[in-house]
């Protein structure tokens, strides 16, 4: 870990301004950033702690949805009564992630911005375009069972590894931000994480210094909410494939897939095909997939996992 300076901001505008310094970064729960700093994968010179910004409330929106403060912890979000009642898929996705201790520290914004779990990204001896642009991608042709099958590029095949955002994607959440100039915007979650193309070191569409202030959820969708996370061990592991789904009585609904792409994976054609079953929806989700020999199983696995979800909903 390289030496760094530290400050604690008191207002969102102040935080956004403070992080304009070269090499400055926000820190929230620190559960991802500190690990990366210890390994010198991230080497910020200055940390701006956003813990004191009073962004830790969950409030109703005038549109009938919820606004989740950027600093609401995963534990608080998953245990919120309104979330449990109306946004079950989000609650289930969160508790399927990490461990109780981590979820107590992990924040909503930090979770959205957690970096990939590609093992080569974590080993600074290895080439990795995401960590060191232009150095190459060790995962292509290497150990990549866990990595992406779609939306990847010749420069990077890493996935967005998290769970919470997959549920937010199916709920059509929006990420709210403020920049140093005080300008705010709402980024639809669909546009928040980006595909790697030739610049895999840029994970999201956030500008440097743009602070996440919260996430809004639209009005509840009703229906049955399911999050199915498939992994080698029963807990405390990232998804091989995960399914976030909200299915209505008539078989229509929404589905997003985690663990397969650089972002939570969803498309309208697949949603439209849901009433025809898992095969129809999966074929639309994975059209153009480019798996490796090691992770080709993820495509049929996603289809079968979706079938399990649809069967579960039907039986309920």
């Amino acid at each position: 870990m390289k030496p760094f300076s530290y400050e604690r901001a008191t207002t969102p505008a102040e935080a956004a301004a403070a992080v304009q310094r070269p090499g400055a970064k926000f820190i929230a729960g620190g559960t991802n950033l500190l690990d990366l700093m210890k390994l010198e994968i991230e080497t910020p010179q200055h940390l701006v702690d956003v813990g004191g910004l009073n962004l830790d409330r969950i409030e109703p929106t005038p549109e009938g949805g919820l606004r989740i403060g950027a600093l609401v912890t995963n534990t608080d979000l998953a245990s919120d009564k309104r979330v449990r009642k109306d946004y079950g898929v989000l609650c289930r996705a969160i508790v399927a992630g990490a461990s109780g201790q981590l979820r107590n520290k992990a924040t909503t914004a930090g979770n959205l911005l957690q970096r990939t779990r590609c093992p080569y990204f974590y080993d600074t001896n290895q080439p990795c375009n995401k960590r060191k642009p232009g150095s190459g991608c060790a995962a292509i042709g290497g150990v990549n069972r866990q990595l992406g099958v779609i939306g990847t590029s010749d420069a990077c095949i890493a996935t967005y590894p998290g769970d919470m955002a997959v549920a937010m994607r199916v709920l059509d959440a929006a990420v709210e931000t403020v920049n140093a100039a005080g300008a705010t915007r709402a980024i639809p979650i669909a546009n928040f994480h980006r595909l790697p193309g030739s610049t895999p070191h840029i994970d999201t569409t956030l500008q440097h210094g743009e602070l996440i202030t919260g996430v809004t959820l639209p009005r509840p969708l009703g229906g049955t909410h399911v999050y199915l996370k498939v992994r080698d061990r029963a807990s405390y592991a990232f998804a091989l494939v995960s399914i976030a789904a909200v299915i209505q009585r008539d078989g229509t609904g929404h589905v997003a897939i985690g663990g397969v792409a650089p972002k939570p994976w969803r498309n309208e054609a697949a949603d439209a095909a849901l009433p025809q079953g898992a095969k129809a929806a999966a074929s639309r989700l994975f059209a153009g997939a480019r798996p490796t020999p090691e992770n080709a199983f993820k495509v049929p696995l996603a289809e079968r996992a979706l079938a399990a979800v649809l069967a579960e909903v039907k039986a309920a």
């Binding site: 390289k2 030496p3 093992p119 290497g142 807990s235």
Partner: protein
């Protein structure tokens, strides 16, 4: 005490303390954090500086140049040691590869330098500033490829001499060709990491030319000697202290880079130095359990009697390494006249292969016990019956040599009854519970028994307190407790009148912790020393040794009853003795046996396997402390589930290293993976092993578990997987079609 004839009735047979399920006497120290692990001797070594090791970024080649300028100038840095500064170093008997590389690199993450600084953070930051130019060389990293040309070798025998190239008995080829029912299958197991909780860690402090190290270690005396050899100093100048060890599973049988680099760093810095190996570094820096490729051929007659049996295995290691003893159990486990056992060793430039819990048997049984199941299915015989048909009370290759105790059949019979084996559907893929395909599997557990000389020092004071000192280690196994139980039983004391001090090279040399020999051999050493103490006590009290009874803190003879402590009124009595073993283990086979039972569910949609319940029935001599023994066995069963379903060090065959080198990437079971576990110990005493009449269970519990899981998965799905770990991707495309 020399143990060369089977034990008669002795004080241990009273079973007042021995054989009782006893809480760990070190439990409160552990749960309150007062037990000190190697890195935690803050009061004893208040001024320790921190060392951080720089490991090789390449797997094979040489160091072109090292630039230390930036690192040396970094804040807090006290010293940097590379091979150049270290000068000539020796290599310990138990290390294959040098612990400090230079200029040649033998494997990825081999230590190249240690940076010593005032704080851990400073040492780590400066270590990242060491600039190394490498000259890469081509290495061999692919076991399957290496085995194509690998020679057959028996490796070194236990006596240090080359073992026979292969084991042959009868005419395997002829008998196999003639067998009416036969199997010829191949199996693979991956590289595995011990993944113990406490990483390798040490503090080193010099006092002139004398060195004290606090080192997480299973074998104090071996490691003290190897450290002296490595540093080129007399063994007498080294003191090694290791009273609490946070798990080892074989990884701490020897010294590793932490202790050597701490000693070198401390010398250079002129200050004590502490080092703990970070997990992402440790997994490539230290030895691992090697991957195996195995082939098993079994031929039987129509009734299921084995007539031909061959087990071949291939493993890899660095130059100077050994073939893993993967076929060891196959010599003795099942009857059968015509046998062939063969091993190959491929040269690999991956990190060093070495012992992990039940080395050899763990992998061998993972394959063999699937093969037995497959054979039973061909024969349409229940897998338990097939094993029982081929059970033997004698060495199949030396029929004159018997097993001292062998209750394998009993283990299966009792286990089958308890587990509800009759509920199993012999046709696979038939049992369902909602979304889950249900299956049951079984496998034999078998592990040889080893005796090792072991000594202890015993002190009796006037208050009647007995203190046991031995360099024995407690790696979470319960050594403290069973040593205390042994002394208490022998001296006729309650447990709280015994103090046990372990893990210090100033104490007498014990068996140490490895190969599941520690419990029986170690306690036998304590017993021997206590028996000597009894003689001295009787003498001091003027009693006749032969009829003196040691009961309830008193020594009784005829109508006299004297407090034990009275013998030490004139001063503490201190004696040292131990156990030495004759050749009973040559006259007969001593081994431990068991049967594992597992029920799994396989998600019919996703192929995910989850264990539902497990049972182990063990026959392993006298169980000294059923509570500690049970902990050992359920821990081993858990490890077996990991081996069956998830554990694999994934090899990058281009760059030559284990890619998933942390505990996020290398998955071991978590609580949610481990459901109901049950352990039954058969009531067994084996008078041929020692006066304790005990054996070990720590490795037995692991042997065969993986195959029992694999067999249960097959029973659930009807899809046979012979390539561990059994992850969902290996059977997904053969599971029932979904709607």
């Amino acid at each position: 005490m020399k143990f060369d004839t089977p034990a008669g009735t002795n004080p241990i047979d009273q079973l007042k303390v021995i054989g009782k399920p006893t809480d760990r006497i070190d439990g409160p120290l552990k749960t309150t954090g007062a037990a000190k692990y190697a890195y935690e001797w803050h009061e004893e070594v208040p001024n320790a500086a921190y060392g951080y090791i720089v490991g090789s970024a390449i797997a094979k080649g040489r160091i072109g140049s090292i630039d230390l300028d930036e690192a040396k100038a970094a804040s807090g840095v006290l010293a940097i040691v590379t091979a150049k500064e270290a000068g000539k170093l020796g290599k310990g008997k138990f290390n294959t590869v040098k612990l400090l590389a230079g200029p040649d690199i033998d494997h990825y993450a081999q230590a190249i330098a240690v940076v010593v600084a005032e704080t851990f953070e400073q040492a780590r930051a400066a270590a990242a500033m060491v600039r190394i130019d490498y000259v890469r060389a081509k290495g061999s990293f692919d076991l399957a490829e290496g085995l194509k040309t690998a020679p057959i070798t028996g490796g070194m025998g236990d006596d240090g001499k080359p073992a026979p190239k292969e084991d042959r008995y009868g005419d395997f080829e002829g008998a196999y060709a003639a067998a009416p029912v036969k199997l010829d299958e191949r199996y693979t197991t991956p590289d595995q990491s011990q993944a113990m909780i406490e990483p390798h860690a040490s503090i080193a402090a010099w006092d002139g030319d004398k060195l004290t190290v606090w080192n997480a270690n299973q074998m104090v005396d071996w490691s003290r000697a190897d450290l002296a050899t490595t540093l080129g100093i007399p063994k007498d100048n080294v003191r090694l202290i290791s009273p609490y060890v946070g798990g080892g599973f074989g990884s701490k049988l020897w010294i590793r880079a932490d202790v050597v680099m701490a000693a070198l760093g401390a010398k250079a810095a002129g200050r004590p130095v502490k080092i703990a190996l970070p997990r992402p570094f440790l997994m490539n820096n230290t030895p691992h359990r090697p991957a195996t490729a195995q082939r098993i051929r079994i031929g039987t007659d129509q009734a299921g009697k084995i007539t031909a049996f061959a087990h071949e295995s291939g493993t890899g290691d660095v130059a100077g390494g050994q073939p893993e003893t993967v076929t060891a159990q196959s010599k003795l486990l099942y009857a059968g006249e015509n046998r062939l056992l063969q091993r190959r060793l491929a040269h690999l430039d991956l990190p060093e292969s070495n012992a992990m819990r039940a080395p050899g048997e763990a992998q061998g049984l993972m394959a063999l016990e699937i093969a037995m199941d497959e054979m039973a299915e061909k024969l349409k015989i229940d897998p338990i019956e097939f094993r029982i048909i081929n059970d033997t009370q004698v060495d199949p290759m030396k029929p004159e040599k018997r097993f001292s105790q062998r209750q394998l059949t009993e283990c299966f019979r009792i286990g089958a009854e308890k587990f509800g084996w009759s509920q199993r559907n012999a046709s696979p893929g038939q049992m369902r519970d909602g979304r889950w395909l249900i299956g049951m599997g079984t496998a034999t557990a078998f592990r040889g028994h080893i005796n090792t000389p072991s000594k202890a020092r015993i002190r009796l004071d006037a208050k009647g307190i007995v203190t046991v000192e031995s360099d024995m280690t407690d790696i979470g196994t319960g050594s403290y407790t069973i040593f205390a139980q042994t002394a208490a039983e022998t001296m006729g004391l309650p447990l709280d009148k015994v103090i046990v001090k372990l893990g210090d090279s100033t104490f007498p040399v014990s068996a140490g912790s490895g190969g599941q020999w520690g419990a029986n051999s170690g306690t036998a050493g304590v017993y021997a020393a206590c028996m000597k103490l009894r003689e001295l006590v009787a003498e001091r009290l003027g009693l006749n040794t032969a009829d003196a009874a040691f009961v309830d803190g008193k020594v009784r003879s005829a109508n006299r009853s004297i407090a034990l402590g009275d013998a030490a009124k004139g001063g503490d009595i201190v004696i040292e003795d131990g156990i030495e073993f004759g050749d009973l283990d040559k006259q007969m086979h001593q081994a431990t046996f068991g049967a594992h039972f597992v029920e799994v569910g396989v998600d019919a949609y996703t192929g995910v396997t989850r264990v539902r319940r497990m049972l182990a029935v063990c026959a392993a001599g006298r169980i000294l402390n059923p509570k500690a023994a049970r902990s050992q066995v359920i821990g081993a069963m858990t490890m077996g589930v990991g081996g069956a379903l998830m554990e694999e060090l994934a090899v990058d065959r281009r760059f030559g290293f284990f890619v998933n080198h942390d505990l996020a990437g290398y998955e071991v079971p978590v609580h949610a993976d481990i459901p109901h576990q049950e352990v039954i110990f058969l009531d067994e005493v084996d008078a041929t092993t020692s006066p304790m009449k005990a054996k070990g269970v720590g490795e037995l519990g692991l042997c065969g578990v993986g195959a029992a899981v694999a067999n249960a998965v097959y029973n659930a799905t009807g899809v046979r997987i012979r390539d561990y770990p059994i992850t969902l991707d290996k059977h997904l495309d053969r599971l029932p079609a979904i709607a």
